[in-house]
Symmetry: C2
Subunit: 118 residues, 2 copies
Amino acid sequence: MLNQISDLDRLFHALADPARRAMLERLSRGPAPVSELARPLPMSLPAAMQHLGVLEAAGLVRSAKVGRVRTCTIEPRALSQAERWINARRIEWEHRLDRLGEYLKTLENEGDGNGSDD
Amino acid sequence: MLNQISDLDRLFHALADPARRAMLERLSRGPAPVSELARPLPMSLPAAMQHLGVLEAAGLVRSAKVGRVRTCTIEPRALSQAERWINARRIEWEHRLDRLGEYLKTLENEGDGNGSDD
DNA sequence: TATTTGGTTAAGCATATACCTAAGTAATAC
DNA sequence: GTATTACTTAGGTATATGCTTAACCAAATA
């Protein structure tokens, strides 16, 4: 295991758990206290807190305590970093298909006019 | 840990490792044999194969063996499933901000005309 | 002031992950 | 037919992850 953990590692790792995604789904509809995020999950409160910690470490969630209540908010910019990585892969992929298409068209045209020497 | 592992779990988990992302980055530029994917990585070939297995299990990569060479291809549709989840969260978030904005505007207008009884 | 509520910390446990080396197998090259 | 190449399998280890219960603290509430 590499011990140089990048932003993207933390980000995708945070998204890889259904409990954490459920929390984000709830938070994308508005801020919520810890207990509300934890209530629907099939686990103890400390376990839910741990998931919340992972989300915060990934920059996906911010939280602040007022009185004895900690209120959590989603941080959508962190999500967009993950989206950008995925998008970049798609762009490269499509670019490659374009080049492949052009190459095939070239072959076709050359075959049409005269035999290629390749 | 829940032992009901979903597509998204596998997908995001697969993306959460730099070695696996490096493989996908290479594959988004075109198919490659196992050894070529493994060569740049700071680990043994069996370790790299294990990563490849994770990518295949997530549906992100397909591979086929011809002779003694296994050639791998990226499967971009799997990536788009992850992208859709992220996008859905953004949509919800923006929708929420819109409603909040409208609510604030309503408050403003009400304050403009007559005092609210709230 | 005593109790409940909301969160936090600590300690421990089971399983999963990420690696490794060594020992295969099967296809190709010599 | 032997050596090399390209993977594959097996077995093992260290660390990380996901969970638990028990105990704790501080802010409300009765």
